[in-house]
Amino acid sequence: MQLSETISTGFLFLAPWLVFFPVIGLLINLIFGGRMSEKAIGWVASAASGAAFVVSVLLAYSVSAAHGEVLRWTLAPWMHVGDLAIDWTFRADSLSTTMMLVVSGVGTLIHIYAIGYMHEDVRFKSDLGRYRRFFVFLNLFIAMMMILVSGDSYMMLFVGWEGVGLCSFLLIGFWYDMDTLGRPSWANSNAAKKAFITNRIGDFGFLLAGFLMFWKLGSFQFDSVFEAAAEVAHNEPWVIVAITLFMLIGVAGKSAQIPLYVWLPDAMAGPTPVSALIHAATMVTAGVYLVTRSSELYTLVPQAQYIVAMVGAATALFAATIAVGQYDIKKVLAYSTISQLGFMVAAVGMGAYVAGMFHLVTHAFFKALLFLSAGSVILGLERGHHHLAHHGGHGGGHHEEVFDPGDMRNMGGLRKTMPVTFWLYMIGTLALAGIFPFAGFWSKDEILLDASLHYPTVYILLSIAAFFTAFYMGRQIWMVFFGEARHDAAAHAEESKPIITAPLMVLAALSILGGALNLPFEGFHNLGHWLEYTLHEVEALPLNLQVAGISTALALTAIVVSWLIYGRKPLTKGQPDPLKKPLGLIFTGMENKWFVDEGYWAVFVNRYVDISRFLADYVDWRFWHDFVHDKVIAGTYNWLSTIALNDYADQKVINWFFDGWGRATQWLSATTRKVQNGFVRSYALSIMLGVVVILGYLLLKP
């Protein structure tokens, strides 16, 4: 039986190993890591992730061999209560294998990169012990991400969904005892906590969607849900709307959309490979995956689709404007990520699932590339700074000031000192800006094309966002790599080692060629056809020269503008941003993220703290505990028992009576004690008297 199944389902039996391999790697490092060398730890973790990639490839092959048949592998039952039946079932179809390939592929590259990167990072922050912990967390992340994309039910997806949230928490707070500059601080752990809690808000929405789904659609299993949905949508459309909108809350949390995007920029507190892997390439795209996965629900309710698309588009534009005003190299990329996620969410919201997935994949390539290159830049500056500290001929003073290796105002002219990184960064930038023929061009164009056909508002918003994208990326390139070094560290920056640049080259190649996955020409819609197995409505649009032309023109214009502002006259040391003057307040807004965080703090966070303090201090403790219980209940009892009863009733009344009784007895005995004179004869006399009296009584008794 097992045999025949194995044949018909190809390598499906390997599906659980998607999770087991990373878990094994994690356990090896956890248990034996203490005795292993740094290199060994890193390679074990990378191998675990690589094994998961191999499994993904084999699964993808199996899916294609099965002609898109959905393949399921049940490992064990999970929750079976009453009608509720959730199993640990792995699902391989074209959509999930796509995600698996991206996650494990990019993941493996980043693992390898991290071997080199973390080696230097832990050295700079002088805590070598954390090297092992990093890879343990990274493997855990891969495992969780695999559960997320391979689960066959919403609840198994949710396990991964929360699990990656946990890993995100752990990795953002990886340097939990310092801030991004290495000073002792709560900053990083705060960022981690913020990310987790914000994600939990999203998960709350996901859970509610789940409850509604179960009671209205009767299951959590994808296919059963979709099957039931059609009828329910006909009878009670609000149910599907509610489910999809609750799900949108989850999407907003995980994929950093308005209004829950605020955690992602802070998440840059994590080490750079983490930013690349989790906060750019994989985890944050889980929301996009969720919507795509639920495409059959969203398709049923256009209202919800519209809301999703608008949220995505608004996020894309909003985040792009903030990116313009940032100085931290990673923060710019973070807002860029939010913006690009907005593109994807908008795409899947519009029903352009293939376009969304396409952009997800290419974005994973080029954004990972950008982040990792940024990491390389940061390390280069660290090295330069380190170099300075050791050859400190430049006169003490300014080395003691805290040096921020991520601040673009400290950079400049790195083109010469870090040429490899420069070129890699350029490729990433061009791909992100959507310049032909890089991957980003094809995927973004497909989204814009779809929007132009169906949702003009979205199209306009996204086009503006695309303009800003090219602009801030141009700004970054000019500020970082051109001009003159604005800090000694930048002047002494050193190129990174091959172990860091090699994965980048692979990613660069993918960023260039990634577009080939789904070229908008007849016969080249590879990804589209591949996903068609899973997604039933796939539009294969041909290239629209008008849309493509406009977007390319916008991007080029933006780059030229950025050159005019930042490239033509390079920034000098200490000079404020040239945009600050002309834009005034608007730029202050961009710089300060439009004060959204402050607003949230004022409206929600501080109020929550106030309320809970109030409840804890006043309501629960002072009122309920101290006043009601100790004062009123215990106090009344005490008063009754000590004052009213003891002091008054007992002492004054009852005691007085018995005291009196006692005194009377005392007096009586003092008097009668004289009778006891000790003379035996008088006792005898009284006995005699008694005898006489008793006899007399007997006589007189009738």
Partner: protein, 519 residues
């Protein structure tokens, strides 16, 4: 007379053998005392495992009471009181939890309790007898005896080995519980006199209590159980008791004693008074929901880590109550599982807090910080336990909370228990508790283990005992809990299977009696 060959009798009274042995050991031989208590409780645990899984006498698929040990006890003057023990799917997990947590708690006192070790161990072992009795007794009178009996050892555990305000806490604990129990006693007497028997299965079978009287009886039982749970707003004794109790006391208090309240609802309130139960369900949901949110909010504002965990119990047990009164299979199963989960997670939290307290002698959260770096094993275990407590999927807390909320949501739909009032809002609002749990748990974890190194580290070092990581004994103490945290989280099927027949029977009985269609 084969009294002691009945598995339940053996299990229930075996700890008394331990007490006898403890009495014979001189007080000065502390280690001998500890080992004796530990071995006695471990044997009890082994007996429970044997009785339920290896003796072949317990059948998991049977929904009825099993391993019944019963004989007439007091039959004078028309009273019909029986000695009647039995276990079914509703109680088996709790019995196992009790026998499982007791040795762990004893192990945790190894170095924490140095004074009057003999008395401590005797009280602790007696406490186990009481708790097991509560979960096994099927006669109201017998139940009441065990119920009150547990107060005595706990009173002394808090009052002798507790913190600075222990006397206050112990008395408050005692009086609070007594106050509720008195009302329950009245209701028990009414049932015993009117029903001519104290036997719970018989009373359930007889049924037929008029609805208005059911309501009063329900309230009387609720008074006792709600205080024990504790349900908001009757929770005021809990923070005091937890803060002042010694670690092992807190573990058992959170792990088992609170479950006596929720178990009471499940065993007595719901089956005995089905109509009243249905009527009360939305109201209980109201209080449970308030408890969940209130407990979580108040928890966040605590500066004392033990108090934080104590208030989190209020929140967690709110979930249990919510699920139980959803009155459907998901809710009740989830509630039972959540009782176990809470015992494991909160028990583990108290254990861990106790372990650090033993070194630092402070529970102020703000003096900690950055401990993960100094005590990596401790930090990692704490993280897992904390995550389990906040309901991360894959760990035990999630399975319980999820099924509870799912059940509660179902109860809110038309025809469900909460439909008359509140509907799905109870589930929806309670789900906020999931967010709030993340807030206070992460706050606690962050302030203690993340961030820059706290002042306590140097403080402790100054006194010549720098902070150390967990030693082997401590790891062995927590490890069993961790195993179950993962087991229930990943593969809860065996646990659900144990309770499913009885839960289904209960739900069916409710659906038959109560004039409503169960979803």
């Amino acid at each position: 007379m084969n009294f002691f060959t009945e598995p339940l009798n053996l299990m229930l009274f075996f700890p008394l053998v331990g007490v006898l042995a403890l009495l014979l050991i001189p007080s000065a031989q502390k280690n001998a005392l500890r080992w004796t208590a530990l071995v006695a409780s471990l044997i009890t645990f082994a007996i429970s495992l044997w009785a339920f899984f290896f003796s072949g006498q317990y059948e998991a698929a049977n929904p009825d009471l099993q391993l019944v040990a019963k004989f007439d006890w007091i039959t004078v003057a028309g009273w019909n009181i029986q000695y009647h023990l039995g276990v079914d799917g509703l109680s088996i997990l709790l019995v196992l939890l009790t026998t499982f947590l007791t040795p762990i708690s004893i192990l945790s006192t190894w170095t924490a309790v140095e004074e009057r070790v003999k008395d401590f161990m005797i009280f602790f072992t007696l406490l186990e007898v009481g708790m097991l009795g509560v979960f096994m007794a099927q006669d109201l009178f017998l139940f009441y005896i065990f119920w009150e009996f547990t107060l005595v050892p706990m009173y002394f555990l808090i009052g002798i080995w507790g913190g600075p305000r222990r006397i206050y806490a112990a008395i408050k604990f005692f009086l609070y519980t007594m106050a509720g129990s008195i009302l329950m006693l009245l209701a028990i007497l009414w049932l015993g006199i009117e029903g001519k028997t104290f036997s719970v299965p018989l009373l359930i079978e007889q049924g037929g209590i008029p609805a208005d009287i059911q309501w009063w009886l329900f309230l009387a039982f609720t008074a006792a159980f709600a205080i024990k749970v504790p349900m908001w707003p009757l929770h005021s004794w809990l923070p005091d008791a937890h803060v002042e109790a010694p670690t092992a006391g807190s573990v058992i208090l959170a792990g088992v004693l609170l479950k006596m309240g929720t178990y009471g609802f499940l065993r007595f309130n719901i089956p005995l008074f089905p109509e009243a139960t249905v009527k009360a369900a939305p109201w209980i949901a109201l209080f449970a929901t308030i408890g969940i949110i209130y407990g979580a909010a108040v928890s966040y504002a605590q500066s004392d880590v033990k108090k934080l965990v104590a208030y989190s119990s209020v929140s967690h047990l709110g979930f249990v109550m919510l699920g139980m009164f959803a009155l459907n299979a998901q809710g009740i199963s989830g509630a039972i599982l959540q009782m176990i989960n809470h015992g494991l997670s909160t028990g583990a939290l108290f254990l861990l807090v106790g372990m650090i307290y033993e070194q630092t002698h402070t529970r102020e959260i703000k003096v900690y910080g950055g401990l993960w770096k100094i005590t990596p094993v401790f930090g990692s275990i704490m993280l897992i336990v904390a995550l389990s407590s906040m309901g991360l999927p894959g760990l035990n807390g999630f399975v319980g909370e999820f099924t509870i909320l799912l059940g509660a949501w179902g109860a809110g739909m038309e025809g469900g228990a909460f439909a008359p009032m509140g509907g799905v809002w109870w589930a929806g609002l309670s789900a906020l508790g999931v967010i709030m749990a993340a807030i206070y748990i992460l706050y606690m974890f962050q302030k203690m283990f993340l961030g820059p190194q706290g002042e306590i580290v140097d403080e402790v070092k100054k006194h010549g005992h720098p902070l150390r990581d967990l030693n082997w004994r401590e790891i062995v103490t927590v490890l069993p809990l961790l195993i179950f945290i993962f087991w229930i989280g990943l593969y809860p099927a065996p646990f659900f299977d144990l309770m499913a027949p009885s839960v289904n029977k209960l739900v069916e009985a409710l659906a038959a009696v109560a004039p409503m269609a169960m979803p």
